[in-house]
């Protein structure tokens, strides 16, 4: 109970004025302004179901890793929100508000045709990210935004929500990252197997290290799909 009270008492003033737009599994997400800019504030609040020691350690680590991964991606030219400010005391991250964007999930649902170019683009971006040894950790079509350019085919893919991300050069970790996406992709968008294959083909072409990663992906698929109730 004490944890709840202290958590409530510690609400920073900038969150009181912010507008909550959603509560994910990791954090509450708010829209606000910061130094005259429109921002998204991501607040990792205490998860009361978790043991306090586990919660504190995870929250601290994930906040740090998220910022580190975003900066690493941006340095490599991968589109991700700008980090404006990090409040480590309250585990809040102030991020660029990617305006006039639509999630890939909503885009696929509203325009189920002509998605090959998009699949290829996702493959390229993920290849680039993995070549920088950034593991996203929670790849879903909800965590990718599309911002349109001038023409119909001209769009920018922005990766968001690096809350479970970390740095690793291991093909195993990259394979699992793709496996997580594959399951989320096919569960959220049934009958898109061909589209996902296109994504993987594009990933393989674009990544310098794809052979070992795809091999690991196949291994992980076997572990997940074939081990049901056996072992």
């Amino acid at each position: 109970m004490a944890q709840t009270d202290s958590a409530k008492a510690a609400v920073p003033s900038y969150l009181k004025e912010a507008q909550m737009i959603k509560q994910g599994a990791e954090a509450r997400v708010y829209r606000s302004t910061f130094l005259g800019r429109s921002v998204i504030i991501k607040e990792r609040f205490p998860k009361l179901y978790r043991h306090p020691e586990v919660d504190e350690k995870l929250t601290r680590r994930r906040t740090t890793q998220e910022v580190r991964s975003i900066l690493r991606c941006r340095r490599a030219g991968i589109s991700a929100p700008v980090v404006y400010f990090v409040d480590y005391a309250t585990h809040c991250i102030f991020l660029q508000d990617v305006v006039n964007s639509v999630s890939v999930r909503d885009h696929i649902r509203s325009q189920p045709d002509g998605l090959q170019t998009l699949a290829e683009r996702i493959g390229e971006v993920l290849a680039q990210m993995h070549d920088e040894d950034v593991i996203h950790g929670d790849l879903t079509t909800s965590n990718m935004l599309l911002t349109s350019g001038g023409q119909q085919q001209d769009f920018n893919l922005v990766l968001i929500d690096f809350g479970l991300s970390y740095i690793s050069a291991l093909p195993e970790d990259k394979g699992v990252d793709l496996y997580v996406l594959e399951k989320a992709f096919l569960s959220t968008h049934p009958k898109t197997e061909a589209l996902f294959e296109r994504l993987l083909k594009s990933y393989s072409s674009a990544s310098k290290k794809s052979t070992a990663v795809i091999k690991k992906l196949d291994e992980v698929r076997l572990r997940g799909r074939k081990r049901s109730m056996v072992g």
Binding site: K22, Q23, G24, A25, E26, K47, L48, Y49, R50, H51, E53, V54, K57, L58, G137, D138, L139, T140, S142, L164, V176, D177, Y179, V180, L181, K183, A184, S187, T188, P190, V220, R223, G224, R225, K226, R227, S228, M229, V230, G231
Partner: protein, 335 residues
């Protein structure tokens, strides 16, 4: 009025249940229990099932006050599960269906759990956490399938708990998971363990390897008690499960959680899930041990739904499979 008898025996439980239009008429069950430090082997488990299945069948009919002529359909677990026990049960179900002249129906074990959970709790369209000795999956219904949004990428949570119980020689009676739960209540020191979540997926092999290596060392040097280890393991693996369930709920926009499977009986898991749901303004649904743990009525209930929507398994197709994905089944009985 439709009456379905269901045969379940995919692991160490053998159960036969009878369902009449959503009412459980009978649900007797037996469990194959092995000595501490040992798991159950397929051959030995099948032998146990063979020795009791006809007694359980008679109990089911007697308890329901029915005769063979009253049954409309015979449902059995087609998979997933352990090969030898599945075969044992399928043979009896096949034989009974032929003797009684009734249609046969092969049921997915996981869907049995889900449909029983929905029946008992009245959950409408929940995100399902299915946790047992052989399965760990986060499931949601979409477009005529129970879609797997997250799952273990190695071993199941129940398997992790069972194998830990073997390491420190916890009794298998009534079940290792139950005994871990009771011991955990007396633990108060938290030992840090690996916490591995990958999006909506989890991994338990790392935590198991770590605790297998560390357990005897820590216990022999009085760094902690067996109760502390049980407490720490439970707190860690259940936090992982609640986290991936919440992530799936956020992803699917769901406001209901249904916990099914043997590990779903654990009151600490239910409590942690309840805390998460309260924070989200969501509702939690769970069943007691008579329906969480593998039982015949759940196969009868899934069979009832399938039979009413036109499914029947022809004799040549009435085989079993150890590997049968939840999302392979077309769910024709839901909108």
């Amino acid at each position: 009025m439709t009456i379905v008898i269901g045969f379940e025996g995919s692991a160490n439980k053998i159960g036969i249940g009878i369902i009449k239009d959503g009412e459980v008429l009978s649900n007797p069950r037996r469990t194959y229990i092995t000595p501490p430090g040992q798991g159950f082997l397929p051959g030995e488990t099948a032998k146990h099932h063979r020795s009791v299945i006809l007694t359980v069948l008679q109990e089911a009919l007697d308890e329901a006050g029915l005769k063979a002529a009253d049954i409309d359909c015979v449902a059995y677990t087609k998979g997933p599960g352990m090969g030898a026990p599945l075969v044992t049960v399928a043979i009896v179900a096949r034989t009974v269906a032929q003797l009684w002249g009734k249609p046969l129906l092969g049921v997915n074990h996981c869907i049995g759990h889900i449909e029983m959970g929905r029946l008992i709790t009245n959950a409408q369209n929940p995100t399902v956490l299915y946790v047992s000795g052989g399965n760990t999956q986060v499931i949601a219904y979409s477009e005529r399938r129970y879609r797997i949004f997250g799952e273990t990428i190695d071993i199941a949570v129940g398997n992790c708990l069972d194998r830990f119980a073997r390491v420190i020689k916890i009794s298998n009676d009534p079940s290792p998971g139950y005994n871990i739960e009771q011991m955990a209540k007396k633990g108060n020191k938290y030992i840090e363990l690996p916490y591995t979540v990958k999006g909506m997926d989890v991994s338990f092999s790392g935590i198991l390897s770590y605790i297998e290596d560390a357990a005897h060392k820590m216990l022999s040097t009085d760094q902690c008690t067996p109760e502390d280890l049980c407490f720490s393991l439970q707190e860690t693996v259940f936090a992982m499960l609640v986290e991936i369930t919440e992530r799936a709920m956020a992803h699917c926009g769901s406001q209901e959680v249904l916990i099914v499977g043997g590990v779903g009986c654990n009151l600490r898991l239910q409590e942690m899930m309840g805390v998460m749901c309260k924070e989200r303004g969501a509702r939690i649904f769970a069943t007691d041990e008579s329906f969480c743990i593998d039982n015949g009525a759940m196969i009868a209930q899934a069979g009832w739904e399938m039979f009413r929507s036109g499914h029947v398994t022809e004799l040549p197709d009435s085989w079993i499979t150890q590997r049968y994905r939840t999302d392979e089944v077309e769910v024709t009985w839901r909108d």
